[in-house]
């Protein structure tokens, strides 16, 4: 018995020895990248670009997570263990996102990952998270049309941002004519498809909708702004719904300001322009233009939670001017939910946590309480803010209650019958008409 | 161009009323010149006389604005590109010696051999006895046999000149255009080069551009003096060098 085992071990050793001899470089390789998993901490992956084009937006989110972890550890960590952040830089390079995700999960053995900004980065890491069964918290407003078991979407779905914004413009500003301007990628495309369908359902005629797409980082807006002006001077109240991507916004707004398009003539409501983007512009010419978010830094709360958060954040970053924005709040909520779920199941095992998360509630920074839904999206309030001269927003409207995020848009033919339900149906894209879980092959 | 008179000329090379100008500067001005088969001709003239430009025109590197350039009495060179012209059998040695510096002497010659120059031909090329013999022979003629495996870049200036002439030989053209073959050569080398060219001239038509009058004299062939892109004088070296204008613009008193 014992001898046998020893013999086995000996044999295995020798075999291993042979293999080792045949591949020295493998050794070096394994040791170079080999990870030593520390058991006394819980590892949290941070997958945000720190260089390249997306660094502009994502660096802040990296800092946010580090800040939250810091706070949590002050409170004694989770399950009596300290949290440890593992930061990597996917460098705004989509395949690198997948590679880094894989590295985080298999090499660093993280229990959860907070990351991604662009849809494409999410799409690129998706297979990795499915394969290695880990958890991703995705904090950015996106086009919807997705509900995955391993992903939790704490940003706004189209019905939590776009639709309410349009409603506001119809109700408050009596807008009759619409310009849907966006950068040519999937989020604006889908959002505009949804809005187009929605507007038509509200009786807006085709010729009263102008759709325009521009490449990433488009910097010469003269023609388009002029077109908007022209379109807007057809006698009907006109508004621009902008899904223009972060980088192109500054020149866009500068051109708007210079060509003298005032908010009171043609208001622009943007879904990707927050406090951080405005920090790069002189906002005086933009006063009155709108943005729809689930959070604004300027929001005052009864319990002062937002004020406190801003204060702590600015002390943490040692920068009294550092602004906060919506995706940050999404991370705050997501992080809180994850902590609660972990403490609920007394484990960081992804399967347990994933099952525990739906139904978990966490306070958002605007004085409400958000809830994780079975489709892995959360409930959020929607605010419409007007740009102020100081680069902040003045909330002019809010939804009466919290809005539940729809994974699948009701306005699109492809998806109006789909729901995501990971509690009952255990399916992200369940067709309520055919009662079938699509995509499972069968 | 009149067909009759092309037939009339038996010349190996025939230039008539050639004009070319770069941004207004007339490099070649109504240049007419004939080279008989088997002839060796020396071209002299001050800098900017258009000697090299003339060669550019003949080898198809520069297209003349007007004028006739006939090879072998029939082919209009102005319509062809360098490759085609080279294939016709016009070889050229450049003013500043250009050999393939990063390749060995014998590879340089190998590349020059006038065998199949098609992509397929070179891709599936395998050396033949005949080729290597040709190369050996040329190496001997240009006295580089023992340097065959050295990099062309490591050769002395004179040796490069010779290697390039050797490449011409390997190419075995009907007409050789040799631009300043003895520039920067010692007297001995110059003498040897003269001998070499005479040797070559036995079997080829040659056009030599050279400043070195002793060299030209040594060649002892018909001389053409160019000035401002046109023929100033033509004849034996003595006739030309005694020509007033030539002395004035070129030789100096």
């Amino acid at each position: 018995m014992l001898t046998k085992s020893t013999r086995d071990r000996a044999a295995s050793f020798s075999r291993r020895g042979v293999l080792a001899a045949t591949a020295g470089l493998m050794l070096g390789l394994a040791s170079l990248t080999g990870a030593k998993a520390a058991d006394d901490t819980i590892k949290v992956g941070v997958l945000h670009s720190l260089s390249g084009t997306m660094a502009i937006s994502e660096t802040t989110l990296k800092d946010t997570i580090l800040f939250l972890i810091d706070e949590q550890n002050k409170k004694g960590g989770v399950l009596g263990k300290k949290l440890e952040a593992v930061v990597v830089d996917p460098a705004s390079n989509w395949p690198l996102f997948a590679e880094k995700a894989r590295e985080l999960i298999t090499k660093d053995k993280v229990s959860v990952v907070f990351g991604c900004w662009t849809s494409v980065s999410r799409k690129s890491v998706l297979p990795v998270f499915k394969e290695l069964n880990n958890i991703l918290f995705y904090p950015v407003q996106y086009e919807g049309e997705e509900s995955e078991r391993n992903v939790f979407y704490t940003g706004a779905a189209p019905n939590q941002q776009a639709i309410p914004a349009v409603d506001y413009l119809m109700k408050e500003e009596k807008v009759k004519r619409w310009v849907l301007a966006g950068t040519d990628y999937v989020y604006p495309r889908t959002t505009n498809k949804i809005l187009e369908a929605y507007l038509k359902s509200k009786g807006v005629a085709q010729e009263d909708i102008m759709i325009n797409y521009t490449p990433f980082g488009h910097s010469d807006w003269q023609t388009i702004v002029a077109d908007i002006k022209k379109f807007g001077s057809a006698g009907k109240k006109t508004a621009v719904v902008s899904t223009i991507n972060g980088d192109a916004n500054v020149p866009f707004y500068k051109e708007l300001g210079n060509q003298g398009i005032k908010a009171k003539d043609i208001p622009v409501v943007a879904f990707s322009v927050g406090e951080e983007e405005l920090a790069g512009i002189d906002t005086k010419p933009l006063v009155g233009h709108l943005a729809a978010w689930n959070y604004f830094e300027s929001i005052k709360t009864k319990d002062g939670s937002n004020e406190k958060f801003i204060k702590d954040w600015q002390t943490y970053t040692k920068n009294p001017k550092r602004v906060t924005n919506d995706p940050m709040e999404a991370h705050v909520i997501g992080f809180a939910m994850w902590v609660k779920a972990v403490e609920k199941v007394k484990s960081t095992d992804p399967d347990k946590v994933i099952d525990a998360l739906p139904g978990i509630e966490a306070p958002n920074l605007t004085g409400g309480v958000s809830k994780m839904l079975p489709n892995h999206h959360i409930t959020k309030p929607v605010f419409i803010g007007e740009i102020k001269g100081n680069g902040q927003f003045d909330v002019v409207w809010k939804t009466p209650g919290l809005v539940a995020g729809d994974a699948w848009s009701k306005e699109l033919d492809g998806s109006k019958d789909l729901i995501g339900d990971w509690v009952g149906k255990k399916c992200g894209n369940f067709n309520t008409k055919t009662n079938k879980c699509l995509g499972s092959g069968s | 161009m009149n067909v009759m008179d092309t037939r009339a000329t038996s010349a190996m090379l025939y230039l008539d009323g050639v004009h070319v100008s770069f941004d207004g500067f007339h490099a070649i001005n109504n240049l007419s010149l004939t080279l008989e088969p088997g002839e060796m001709r020396a071209i002299i003239g001050p800098n900017g006389a258009g000697k090299t430009t003339m060669m550019d025109i003949i080898t198809g590197k520069t297209k003349p604005d007007e004028g006739t350039v006939l090879f072998d009495g029939v082919t209009d060179l102005t319509r062809l590109d360098e490759t085609r012209i080279a294939e016709l059998g016009i070889g050229r040695k450049f003013q500043k010696p250009t050999v393939f510096e990063s390749q060995t002497v014998q590879d340089n010659l190998l590349l020059a051999l006038n065998v199949d120059h098609s992509v397929r031909g070179t891709l599936f090329w395998r050396g033949s006895k005949a080729e290597s013999e040709r190369i050996d022979k040329v190496l001997e003629t240009i006295r580089l046999t023992e340097a065959r495996n050295r990099l062309a870049g490591s050769l002395s200036h004179g040796q490069k000149q010779w290697l390039e002439i050797g490449m011409l030989l390997a190419q075995d053209p009907k007409l050789l255009l040799v631009d300043e073959p003895v520039a920067g050569m010692t007297d001995v080398e110059t003498h040897l080069t003269a001998e070499l060219l005479k040797e070559i001239n036995k079997t080829h038509t040659v056009m030599v551009v050279e400043h070195d009058m002793t060299f030209v004299r040594e060649l002892g062939v018909k001389v053409t003096c160019l000035h401002e892109g046109t023929v100033l004088a033509e004849g034996t070296i003595d006739q030309v060098s005694s020509n007033e204008r030539v002395i004035e613009v070129y030789l100096g008193r």
Binding site: - | F100, Q103, L111, H117
Partner: protein, 389 residues
């Protein structure tokens, strides 16, 4: 490839290189699959995927070295051919998803469904068959390279001008593929692949196999390149690189030579891309980004221009450095490291790693064969004289 070309093409360095690649191709998958997870020598799957990526890059580097190192054509748009090959493979993988897409549409890929496409665009036909896709992997980049090269080389666009218009080419393609109307998934590109030839792309076995395949492709590509550069055609290419007009006056059709290698190298790049996509699991327009192409050229420079081994090595070294720097404490500073690496290499090792090594090796050994001398010299930084002025 005829046998004599093979034999002729194999010198010492080449043989060692081939052996190493072969060893990697066999051992890494074995160590990954056979050894128990967590055991000391076990190669985690993410490393297999990672090294698979490196190998694909190595093939791309080879293809660039073939035209730049030996023919002096500096293409700053080779990423385009890589990406096109990748897209061809990606389209096949998309069609393999079938009803497993989120909308369960048997024909249309998901991105077409939610952009309300009614039917499959014609250029997607046939990509459900592997052989067709495989053919396209070679054909599409090859065709583009042929047309582009035919225009450019015939009208004697050389040096910087060529480099810049190759940039223009890849940039134009980048913009084109970004457009969602173009029918290639826009910015998101093609992703969420399920299986290839019936094997699950996520499965460890498939990954190992893909890795081995990539190594095989690298070996074959290497042999092809060696065969080309060590043939007489190789000498002509070098001649073109060093003195293009001289070569013309010797009666060579320079443009057809350039066109030939350019097309061959484009096809190689395409294959590299095709192997790359299933291993990284996504192909999207950013692969067309002009920066990528430039970076690929830099791999070659780092490894040693004009030494095929160097090109491959450079690709691996630079990308390993990238992987290494982009995680851990260094993450915020990795661009400094990478940038510094590029500057230092060009300044201190103009011949690249392998080039410098060879030079040193040759010096240390007085006796040298003509062949290695030729190749050693070929590694000199000297480029087209035209551009030197």
């Amino acid at each position: 490839m005829t046998p004599h070309m093979l034999t002729r093409s194999l010198d010492r360095g080449a043989t060692i290189f081939l052996l190493v690649v072969a060893a990697l191709g066999v051992l890494i998958p074995l160590f990954n699959l056979l050894l128990p997870a967590g055991s000391f020598l076990q190669v985690p799957t993410y490393l297999v995927a990672l090294w698979g990526k490196y190998v694909c890059y190595a093939i791309l580097a080879l293809s660039i070295d073939l035209i730049w190192g030996y023919c002096g054509i500096l293409s700053l748009g080779h990423g385009a051919f890589f990406a096109l090959g990748g897209y061809a493979m990606g389209m096949y993988l998309m069609r393999q998803i079938g009803t497993r897409g989120v909308y369960g549409n048997p024909i249309l890929p998901d991105f077409m469904v939610f952009l309300n496409w009614q039917k499959l665009p014609w250029y997607w036909y046939g990509f459900d068959m592997f052989w067709f896709a495989a053919l396209m992997v070679l054909f599409v980049p090859g065709l583009l390279a042929f047309c582009f090269g035919w225009l450019a080389f015939r009208s004697r666009v050389t040096g910087v001008y060529l480099s810049i218009i190759t940039q223009a080419m890849t940039y134009a393609l980048l913009l084109a593929f970004f457009r969602n109307d173009f029918g290639f998934g826009g910015n998101n590109g093609l992703t969420d692949f399920k299986d290839i030839l019936g094997f699950n792309v996520q499965a460890e076995g498939t990954r190992a196999a893909l890795f081995a395949l990539s190594c095989l492709a690298l070996i074959i590509g290497f042999l092809i390149c060696r065969a080309i550069v060590s043939s007489k055609l190789g000498k002509v290419l070098i001649a073109v690189r060093d003195a293009e007009s001289r070569t013309r006056f010797l009666g060579y059709r320079v443009e057809s030579y350039k066109l030939f290698v350019f097309t061959v190298s484009a096809c190689m790049a395409g294959v590299a891309g095709a192997l790359y996509v299933p291993q990284v699991g996504i192909i999207n327009p950013s692969e067309f980004a002009p920066g990528n192409s430039i970076e690929a050229v830099i791999w070659v420079a780092v490894g040693g221009r004009g030494t095929l081994v160097g090109a491959a090595l450079g690709a691996v070294v630079v990308n390993y450095a990238k992987t290494f720097f982009t995680s851990g404490m260094l993450a915020p500073y990795w661009l400094f490291m990478l940038g510094a690496l590029f500057i230092l290499v060009t300044l201190l090792l103009p011949k690249g790693i392998v080039g410098t090594f060879n030079a040193w090796w040759d010096q240390s050994k007085e006796k040298r064969t003509a062949a290695s001398a030729a190749s050693a010299a070929a590694e000199d930084g000297v480029t087209e004289p035209k551009m030197a002025e």
